[in-house]
Symmetry: D2
């Protein structure tokens, strides 16, 4: 196992994890969950699609739900690049690696690039999105979890090692990573661009790529537990899968995981630390260290480890 060198000044600037596009079987049921139970804000909607964002977000959407027949899936996870020029450079980077890369038209986004990474993760990148007013002091609209903004994605893949160098070259910095006890096999990598622990996490799993979860921030500890109560009171108590609890592992977040009506998994969490300075090397964990960490609480159910959402096949 080789930890990729840090590329402090990559050829193009990815700024952050931005949005996810999920297919759902019943948009009305999904709306009830995401808007009425979770507390996301509707930016736009029609019969087939709904565009949602967090309370503090000015970008038009951080979650797009599309009604489709068949098994639900994740169409794409989205990232932002800084400028339109960076978009062209991103295209060149994926093409040079022999990977799919094409410009497409997407509502409420300017030029949008569809690419696929070496693990098969389907990704959408743009530099510019429509904006909407931040709801950050529209306290009358605060409800349930009060989700503030999308923070990161986690993807399961058999090819963690393979994607690591690919993302490092794009300037993704490794905040933390997990290896087998002997150090030869990498189990998980936590990659960031925006200066907190992760924008994109890859965890080793025989069956991938699959989207494990999309994570949104919530303001306080209170909101993690209030969301559980609010969900239970709304008939969605069984959708609370794991937590409230804290990760005594990369990120150290206080979390609750829940499943939407189609089984898409969300993580809600409070705080992450800031990580921007180059002198701090990636933090290495071994699977043994994880086992011996302090911590508390009932372990996650098996399905939290095994179940995840396939990416759409088109």
């Amino acid at each position: 196992m080789i930890v990729p060198a840090i590329v402090a000044k990559p050829d193009f600037i990815v700024t952050r994890a931005s949005h996810a596009v999920l297919t759902v079987r019943d948009l009305k049921a999904s709306r009830a969950f995401y808007v009425d139970v979770l507390g996301l804000v509707v930016s736009d909607e029609d019969r087939d699609v709904i565009y949602l964002r967090g309370l503090e977000e000015a970008c038009h959407h951080s979650l797009v739900l599309k009604e489709m027949a068949g098994a639900p899936s994740c169409e794409r996870v989205g990232f932002r690049v800084l400028t339109e020029e960076d978009l062209d450079l991103a295209k060149a980077y994926f093409e040079k690696a022999g990977l799919p890369a094409e410009f497409v038209r997407v509502p409420f986004q300017e030029r949008t690039l569809h690419v696929t990474d070496p693990a098969g993760t389907r990704i959408e990148i743009c530099a510019t999105m429509a904006t909407r007013e931040r709801q950050i002091i529209q306290f009358r609209k605060f409800k349930s979890a009060c989700p503030m903004r999308l923070d990161h994605f986690q993807v399961l893949t058999p090819f963690v090692g393979k994607v690591w160098g690919f993302y490092a070259e794009m300037g993704f910095r490794t905040s933390e990573y997990v290896t087998e006890a002997d150090g030869e096999m990498v189990r998980a990598i936590f990659l960031q661009r925006k200066g907190n622990p992760h924008d994109l996490v890859f965890v080793k799993n025989e069956n991938g790529p699959r989207l494990h979860h999309v994570a949104f921030t919530v303001p306080e500890t209170y909101h993690l537990l209030h969301f559980c109560d609010f969900a239970a009171n709304s008939g969605f108590g069984a959708n609370i899968e794991f937590g409230p609890q804290r990760h005594y592992s990369p990120g150290y977040a206080q979390f609750v995981y829940c499943r939407d009506p189609d089984g898409h998994r969300l993580e809600l969490f409070t705080n992450h630390y800031q990580t921007m300075d180059l002198e701090e090397p990636p933090a290495r964990w071994t699977t043994e260290m994880l086992k011996s960490m302090p911590g508390y609480g009932i372990p996650p159910p098996d399905k939290w480890r095994s179940e995840a959402m396939p990416f759409s096949k088109i």
Copy 2:
């Protein structure tokens, strides 16, 4: 099953659940847990015993720990009566029922009555205790869970029905109770004197009397989770047994249960509702209602249901 009639004006006035006396095998280890990890305040201590209270309590102690060889046990759970005269009336009440009742001397308490209830629960009653300064605005002493005050006890017993009438006659009001689906068998009774849901809870169990838990209030949701973190950081993460979660059953408390180094169980919880008005009848739950309640979270481990602390045999 007959729900006992309410005795609005009993012959003597029990005011509240007051304190518990527990034996421990290693007082130093217990002190580390209760003072340094949980955050209780020391009122007095010597080599063999430590007297603890919550941050808001003016009474000298709400928890007494005594070092003793052998298996740990609960010596007594304690209640307060309003006046010294009530104490004499209490003695007469137990004696009339053919139950043990004798005055004893207990440090930091005025005249103290030792009695045993029809379930065998060993109880200590006094009207007057030494006082200490409330630490309620000594914020420099606030730490970890910030336990504010003792609130209630839960006791397991095969004889729930038998004790119900006995306590009702003492003026204990039933805030809520649980029966089998057919309503003939009572499973749990929640008895109160101080105007919130419970001072004393009896839950049916083949093996009793045993003390299931002593409950302390904490200020906020934040403290439930911070206590778990503080305990984990102190090497006591494995002592967190169940929660943070909410009871979707009598009391509706947001809770965390933990075990001390000897296995004594504590409940920490935030809010209970106020219940004082006579027009509100005891709330009846059936075991089926409990199963069909909304709620969320991973179920308690089996030991939370089965394990409890025997009362001392003297």
Copy 3:
């Protein structure tokens, strides 16, 4: 100045501060404030009156608003007695003191007694009220301050000394009191029946009786600040009069005071301590002690000290 003796077992049992009846000029505007901005629950309403209660309350109402022309006023503050018999004994007590006392009919209450205390405070007492379902786990209805229950009243009067003995004889216990530095003149008395610091507070003021505030509990620190934000976002920011801050004086509550559209003042606060044991004497404060207490924050505006609501004249 003489501190009244404690009457541990009074002739009749007042249980708690129960409800307030306020007149308002525009019921629609008041509803918008109390329901949509503060978060109280509507039990019943018609064109002229609205009955409100807190989220945890089973009693039909803790706040009654009546639309009336003319200057707004407080019609009555309400207390509960334990039994119907206590109601008759209460009537006799007021009559014996040569004070007004008559039974009246009040919607959603059983036999109701209207009395006037020695300070001229207009009071309403009943033993039995209609009940409604507690909303304590109806989390979808939680909003803004999430007011849980009415806790106490504060009344301004020139006759603090005069009422003290009168209420003491009714069994009101003095948790704390404030005197001039020389100890001869009592400035404020904090009276309780339900076992926390106050149900009824009298503060010396040349102009009285006037209702200074009605206090409701809220769950957590978060709700004090969230209420301010919610009010500001609803156009009621100027109604926040004082706080969030903490009283470094009797009760030690963390509070925010606000004014309703008619100028009625509410206190929202988090925790009070429990006080039930007779061995703890009333805590004495002098006005000098109050000045030298630790504490923080910008002092209250003058109007917080001077403005209060007259009681209705009928």
Copy 4:
């Protein structure tokens, strides 16, 4: 007034506000305040200087206090650049503008650049600092405000317009700015590099440059109020200058301002929004808009507007 053009890809990369160096008259008294009352962590100290950091910070220090005779002052505010090469480019940038720029040796920092901006603000820049273990899950060390990390500085200057273009060219993006009602005079600029509302704020004031405050994040609303209580209980209640309250102006933070024993001002706040995407233009406020914003609470004392700390003269 001209809003400077955005420089998306500046010649060198400033990453964030990093640290402040303050002089104090009595290091022991300062230590008592910052460590025992506020809750910062000591990284290193000797008789003359103490190096402090927040609970989540891996960088060696975010606050340096030096004991010096005479009036207290701010020696420097510090920023980080991404690489050592950026440090050389920064030096060239300041020199080209005819401004002081020289390399100096500073303990626990690699090559350090001392520069002065066009407003006279004394600044220290480095690319590399010693690191220490993040205390982010050392919950036993959490206390009082639980300050997590340094977030930003505010500087008063008569020359807001003059510095605006200078910082914009360095890649500082304007999240928000305030102008006079007629729009010709800029009153305040909120500049950021790390993707939240501000790393550096300049506010117009006749007397400058002076440091108005250094801001640290705290985890939750609870900690803002708990810090005030903790400070009051520690004898520092009078040091709480303004808040807890919320800015209904740029940043929208929930805050409390306090003064240290020398009068240095700190802001503690909870959440800022994320701002990284170029499509969102700087938000413009006029002084009239600020006056008509919703909001609540007692206005700040005059000294909060007028008092600030001069920069050291060497």
